[in-house]
Amino acid sequence: MFEFFRETYYVMWGDLMFMKHTALNILISSVMSPLLYLLAFGYGLGMGLEVDGLPYIAFIIPGIAALTSLSASFSYVSGRLNVQRLYYRSLDEMLMCPISTSAVVLGKSFHGVIRGLISSSIIFAIGLAMVPEHLHFTPLYVICIVTSCFVFSLLGVTSSLLAKSHQSIATFNNLVILPMTFLCGTFFPVDVLPPVFQAMLYSLPLTHSSVAVRASSLEWDFPWASLFILFCFCVAFFAINVYLIKKKKV
């Protein structure tokens, strides 16, 4: 087990160095889009609105934290790994090393998790400062946001392993990530939609992430089923990635 974690660290080391080189860039770009969402939807559209008896801004901040776990983790991993696989070919070097496939998958997803956590933590900290009477930093919130970052990092690994070109990632973004961004409970409760749409949206991981992150930070009844489903997504994406590398389909 110790050997596995050591291998994982070795795999992620190169990406940690890259993060070190680009720290300022990461910090600035991490908060840009969530802050825009917060300004546009929280203050612009949502001023004076209430959802389930809460000010809209308190409702939307956990949703934006969940959304940020998606956008930061996914885009960082998929972008960088895609470049490493198709353009630098440095993923080849990794695959020729005596490192287990599971460690490669986990190591490659870890830096996305870190990036996702940095971005969502900044947004959540802003939220805590704005509506301290409604938002709470709880252990369950930490578990939910970390799990969420893992799910979307591992999805980023999957999409870049399957990508035939950089354009494939852009297409995946437009067809999967963008609809999730607007529909999966970040800006409004999914339960207000007709049952058929609810069923469709509950098949996507961001819906469960939004529901779980919101409940854990607003101290609502916690949806354990959503957290369990997030774990299942994690396991599924991890298994797919291991399969793709082991069968040398990358």
């Binding site: 080391w13 190169g14 070919r89 080849d92 070097e93 287990s100």
Partner: protein, 289 residues
């Protein structure tokens, strides 16, 4: 020291990309301590074979083992013995040379205490010291290649795969790489080299395999291969001013042939080269020229 143990064994290797067969029933053995040259025209299957043997690409049929470890059943053990320099530069271009080398040392599980010293030693040997803290992207092609080669040597591999290692390098860099290959081989490293440069293979290799359309069509020492077609070449212009080549087992036979052509022909009699052998066996020049 001559060691005759088979360190790379490939049996009946088939690699298909869809319906296209890239490697077609390749059988090959490389002995420990050899420098093995793998020659073939463009698209012959050299790079695919290297990628399969080094465990990077799956294969359709056959068996591959390195150092006695089956690449499918014991990939970690086999990969631990290998160093691979790919044809393209496959370093992380956002990182510095030192970071790339450190990362490689880590993923090949070199002990932490040895990494820095080994990086400095290899960088010093190949003249990379002043470039160690520059990003790969900021280096010229030749320096990138040197960085790629020394990165693959960090963990002291038993078998080193070099896929076109000197393409794009100037003559100085090429000679430096050649002497590095000889030095490594002298220390016991088996080298598996693919190259477009026949003179490189002639200068370095103990054994040569010629691959054509995915099949190994000849294997032997450069001298053996030359003897196979005739170790003396007669080179002459035919009446249509086309260069012709004939091969003979002795100089006397070649001179006899030259006399039989009559006084109007200028015939150059010389030793057969590996290039003659390659063209004769493959039926085309390297690089499809």
């Amino acid at each position: 020291m001559v060691l005759l143990e088979d360190i790379i064994v490939v049996k009946g290797l088939v690699k298909k990309f869809g319906k296209e067969v890239a490697v077609d029933g390749l059988d090959l053995t490389v002995k420990k301590g050899e420098i093995f040259g793998f020659l073939g025209p463009n698209g012959a299957g050299k790079t695919t074979a290297v990628r399969v043997i080094s465990g990077l690409t799956s294969f359709s049929e056959g068996e591959v083992s390195v150092g006695g470890y089956d690449i499918l059943k014991n990939p970690k053990e086999a990969k631990r013995l290998m160093g691979v320099v790919q044809q393209h530069i496959s370093l992380d271009k956002d990182l510095t040379v030192r970071e790339n080398m450190m990362h490689r040392a880590m993923t090949h599980k070199m002990p932490a205490g040895e990494r820095k010293e080994r990086i400095d030693e290899l960088a010093g040997y190949i003249g990379l010291e002043e470039y160690l803290d520059r990003t790969i992207d900021s280096l010229s092609g030749g320096w990138k290649k040197r960085a790629a080669i020394v990165s693959s040597l960090l963990h002291r591999p038993t078998v080193l795969f070099l896929d076109e290692p000197t393409v794009g390098l100037d003559i100085q860099a090429r000679r430096l790489i050649w002497s590095l290959i000889r030095k490594l081989n002298g220390e016991g490293t088996t080298v598996f080299l693919t190259s477009h440069y026949i003179e490189e293979v002639e200068a370095l290799c103990d054994m040569v395999g010629i691959i054509h359309k995915g099949k190994l069509i000849a294997k032997g020492s450069p001298a053996d291969l030359c003897r196979r077609i005739g170790s003396i070449a007669a080179e002459y212009l035919d009446p249509d001013r086309m260069m012709r080549y004939r091969y003979f087992s002795s100089k006397e036979d070649a001179e006899g042939f030259a006399s039989s052509l009559g006084g109007g022909h200028k015939v150059l009699i010389r030793d057969t080269t590996l290039e003659d052998c390659f063209v004769e066996l493959v039926g085309e020049k390297l690089g499809g020229e």
